[in-house]
Each structure stands twice: as structure tokens, then as C-alpha cells.
Assembly symmetry: C2
Homo-oligomer: 270 residues x 2
């Protein structure tokens, strides 16, 4: 039997809720807690969308009582939903002001291959702190993907990337040395590797194979990104090819989950 739940109205008569639970008193209490938590999540997801699309003028959320009316939710559910968003670092409660948006997530496109500075141009200046740079003998998984013999030197670069001074991502990059050598003297602090590779080769980039994951930041990555240990990180692995098909840039990128979203368009037919 499928459980039916009518509306987000928390004070609905309980006999309108039909589901598997609800035998003893303990089950009923647990069931109510679950329902409230479910509703809070449901509401938080709707508010999150508005937060991320700058849907609240001035960055201030409406008063709890207005949210409760607008979303036909109880004040308790509204509070719990705001707690969820606060735990994610998206909003803060300010005494005398109410709930305000404190985190901005920047959209990174999934429709077109672009470097970070290109992507976020309208949001501010991207600077790159080069933490490490130098040739390393390519381990097998790097060599295979960059199509060089295992053990051949490739250029390894580790960058902490910032937008408006705040850490955004930690990028680990491998580049074949014939192209990498020219990068050693380039302005990596202020320029995307993508742009530099196109300048060096006189060729446009072609395509990239990407894989996205959500992972909890390990202690060291968290410290570098100035995020709490265990913070959710959007991990992007990307192998970028030149227009002629040659793979030239293997990257492992950890984006702070609270500062980046990836957006795109999918089509049903190819």
C-alpha cells in the first residue's frame, strides 16, 4: 500500500495520513517526527532554489510567519527548514533582522568546456595560488590518459583558486611536459590553464571527459579550502583534449560544496 500524504499542512487531521506506521504510541511519535523532518527537507529544497537564484530581494528571507503561510507549513516546520539551510551555511539568523542569505554559490556551466576565470568572469576575479609546480614522472594512470610512456616527466601543478579572495577550489593538474614547460613562466596566478594551453598550442581546446562526485573533505583538503573538516566537496575529474583530439590536461578539482553549483541542459535524444 502506498502512503498518502495530503499537502504540507502539518496540522492536518492525522486520519488523513495513511501509511505503514502508526500502530503504537511510540510509533506514532516517531512517525510524526519523521513527517516533520520530511516536510522541513521539502521546504528547505524549495527555499534553497530561491536562495541560489537570488530570488530573495536584498538577500533577506521573508519572516517565518510569511513563509509558513506561503508554504502552508507550521512555524515549527519553517524553523526546522531554516535550520537545515543554516547548517549548510547558506543562511544566518541575525537578531532584529531575521534570516539572511550569507553564502553565494556560483554557477559553473556543464554545457560548455570553460576555465574557472572565464566561467565566473561576471562574478569577480579568479586568482590562483600556485602551491606546487614542477615535473613529476607520470604514474601509469596519468601516463595512460595523457598518452605518454609511464615514467615520462609531466608537469604537475597544484593550485588553490580563489574568487574575491575566498577559496573556491583546489586543483591538481597534470600536463605533458612539451606543453608544460611553456607554462612554467606563464602568469598562472591570473590566467586559466585552458587559456594558456590554447595560447601555447595555437589551437582551440576540443572536448573534455568529466566525472563529478560528492565527497567529504579530508582534514588537509578542508584546511587548504578553509572549510570545516568533512565539508561536502564537489569533486571534478576532467581530461581535456585539444581540438585535434590530443589529451593535454588531466585535472582533479575539489570545489567547496557551499560555493559552487554545476548547471546544464540534458536532452532526451542524442
Amino acid at each position: 500500500m502506498i502512503p498518502y500524504l495530503i499537502g504540507m499542512v502539518p496540522d492536518m487531521p492525522t486520519d488523513r495520513i495513511r501509511d505503514h506506521a502508526g500502530q503504537g504510541a511510540t510509533t506514532v511519535a516517531a512517525h510524526r517526527r519523521r513527517l516533520r523532518a520530511d516536510r522541513a527537507r521539502q521546504l528547505a529544497d524549495l527555499l534553497r532554489h530561491q536562495l541560489l537564484t537570488a530570488g530573495f530581494p536584498g538577500g533577506a528571507l521573508p519572516h517565518e510567519s510569511i513563509l509558513a503561510t506561503d508554504y502552508r507549513a507550521s512555524r515549527n516546520t519553517v524553523r526546522q527548514a531554516l535550520d537545515l539551510l543554516r547548517a549548510e551555511g547558506l543562511v544566518e539568523r541575525q537578531p532584529g533582522v531575521g534570516t539572511v542569505v550569507v553564502a553565494q554559490k556560483y554557477p559553473h556551466g556543464l554545457d560548455r568546456l570553460m576555465g574557472l576565470a572565464e566561467t565566473l568572469r561576471e562574478h569577480g576575479h579568479v586568482t590562483n595560488e600556485v602551491r606546487t609546480m614542477g615535473p613529476v614522472p607520470a604514474p601509469a594512470p596519468v601516463a595512460d590518459r595523457l598518452r605518454v610512456p609511464t615514467g615520462t616527466d609531466v608537469l604537475y601543478i597544484e593550485r588553490l583558486r580563489r574568487l574575491g579572495g575566498l577559496p573556491l577550489s583546489l586543483d591538481l593538474t597534470y600536463i605533458p611536459l612539451d606543453l608544460g614547460t611553456a607554462l612554467l613562466d606563464a602568469d598562472l596566478e591570473n590566467t586559466d590553464v585552458f587559456r594558456l594551453l590554447e595560447a601555447i598550442t595555437g589551437q582551440r581546446l576540443g572536448h573534455a571527459e568529466i566525472t563529478l562526485e560528492a565527497v567529504n573533505a579530508d582534514a588537509n583538503s578542508a584546511a587548504v579550502l578553509e572549510a570545516p573538516r568533512g565539508a561536502a566537496v564537489l569533486m571534478l575529474e576532467r581530461l581535456t583534449h585539444l581540438a585535434d583530439g590530443r589529451p593535454v590536461d588531466l585535472e582533479f578539482i575539489r570545489f567547496r560544496g557551499d560555493r559552487i553549483t554545476m548547471s546544464g541542459l540534458l536532452h532526451r535524444s542524442l
Copy 2:
């Protein structure tokens, strides 16, 4: 000045490392710890790629000493890298066996709009536990996106989706009621909503706008997904349209970060 680091060889002469740190003894020690942690991350990322692409025959990683040789890393770095992967739940150390792959991440395509069961067909059977289903008055952000008047009833569905019995994602779905009513009697337990919508409308789906984020699971979502509180979750918001352009399916999907990757191809030119 750019810090140069030559190779992943941890026992390299320290005079080959040039960077901003390294004045006092404390700084040197902190610097060494940082370098080791950086190298462990670098190695863990390479091993992660192999794990996820079934690059270790039989699911067993080579012995630490072999990894150390292959990756020109110290045993300490190898151990620390394996610790990182273990903390992510990807590998386990088994006494007498060594390090084995314990988690499988399933690839979800970013190149084509597909339902979960379609996508993961080759990996097993997707079952859906319908936690909640029923009409709710559409709040403004839902109504706007589904292009119905605010307050109009839409069908709300909450599903826990499993692959091979293990929780994979928690999906919150809003569907206009003219299509939603037909879903009430459909086999939602075993069928993707995408497939049902195409059957109901006699029309193919067209495209979807998607947004991906990495978030830490709140306590309730974690409990539902049988994941630790705070576990990294890949959050997908997706508005799906019919081929004729009508928006018919707004979803908020929380994928367990340790069970799903999203893969696709990006092109430089549109």
C-alpha cells in the same frame, strides 16, 4: 615566487623544495606534514580513478610496497592515501588480504536525459520505496517552474530509490496534477517516472535543466539514505520538459555521494 616540487618522491633532498615556508624548525615540520598530506591526496586521487573504473582486477589493490614503487611514493604516503580512500568508504583493509575495494560507485550520465532505472540497467534492478504520495497545493517556486497557478494542486511524490536493495537516492518530485493523477495507480515501485510520463502523454521527454551541488546530509536525510550524518550527498535539481516544451517534472534528488558519479562530455565550442 612559485614553489617548485620535483616529483612525488618523499625522500627527495629538501634543498630541492623551494617555497614560501621553511624558516624555523616548527615551520619546517609543519611544511613536511603539509607536503606529505598533499602527496597523499595526489596519490589518493589517482587510485580513486582506478577504483571507480574497475582498474584493480579482483577488487584487490596491489601491496603497499608495490604502490610505493609504482607511484614513487614512500610507504607512509601510500598508507596515508589509503586512509583517505578508506575514510571515503571506498576501500577497506582486510587482515591477511590487504586493501580491497568495498564501494562501487555507479555512473550516471550527464550526456543524455535518462531515468535512474534506465541509466543503471546494466548494474542491477532499481526499486523505489514510495514514502509519500499525494496532491499538495503548489508553492510559488514549484508553480512558477511547472507553469501552473500558485496554490493549484500538484502531485508530490517522495521516493527512496535502491539499487540491489541498497539506498541510492532520495527523490522529491512535483508533477502537474493532470499527469499526476494517472501516476497514482502506476507501478512506481519498479518504473522510472520518466517512462511513466512518456506512457501517459504519448510523447517523448525533451530536455531538462539540471543543477548539481555537493551538500552534507542532514540527520534525517542521512538516516533515510542509511548513510552517516553529514555524509556528502550529490544533490540534483532537475526540471524536465516534454518534447513540446511543457515542464512536467520538478525533482530534488539526493544521491549518496559514495554510490554515484556523474559523467559526461563537454565541448569547447557550442
